[in-house]
């Protein structure tokens, strides 16, 4: 593999890790919103 491919691999891996964390945060956000709506509706 050409050394430039390792550079791309490292940069893509970095963004994949940060992207995955962003997805986790978004899923947590929608879960909390759902819980809040549920609590509101019960009141």
């Amino acid at each position: 593999m050409n050394s430039i491919h390792y550079l791309y691999a490292a940069y893509i891996a970095t963004w994949a890790i940060h992207g995955a964390y962003l997805v986790i945060l978004a899923r947590r956000y929608s879960r909390i919103r759902r819980d809040m709506e549920r609590l509101k509706n019960r009141k």
Binding site: M1, Y6, A10, T14, H18, R28, L39
Partner: protein, 228 residues
Amino acid sequence: MKRGITALAVITGLMLSFALYEALVVAPTERTMGDVQRIFYYHVPSAWTAFLLFLINFVCSVIFLIRRNTKADILALVAAEVGVVFCTVVLVTGPIWARPVWGIWWAPGDIRLTTTLVLWLIYVSYLVLRRFSTSGQTAVVAAVVATFGALDVPLVYFSIWFFRTQHPSPVIGDGGSLDPRMWVVLLINWAAFLCLAGLASWTRYLLEVAKREVEEAEALESLYEGSR
């Protein structure tokens, strides 16, 4: 608050784009390693950001142990979580750089590599403890784990100063030989990653506060229903 997060998100996006351009286009090509050396602009700032976040986790954990301050507890959790994300980047980009330069992905027994892996494992354990423990003392136990876990941070940082390792010797600080143009690009990338860490931490902090409020409301509701 919402406007502040949006502004920080815009600044972070601009900074990261500018930093990427600087790392790939503006920074000079290193003579012996070639383009693969540019991994350095993501690897090193990610490591510095992770260290800073683990330091924040340590300070907040100590504050929590002394004052039982909820804000400090949430900040410690947030700093550890975002720190683990950045430390994961370090552990992934390091071997990708090592393969073409050293000819191996990982140097078993190398003190810098091993202590970094141990550091990652300590904070992953901390997060697992916080996520799955149901004890009322979880926050206290986690703060103690974090306080001792932080001892690994200076060991990781100074290991290349005091031990002979496969990992490159320091190019920054005393005896450093980093090209001044590379220094500028490195600092720009660190600033961009700090913005990203700040944005992630802020968002995660607000989520944790909201989550605790929901849990409190649910507990109150079940108490109220139980008393009827």
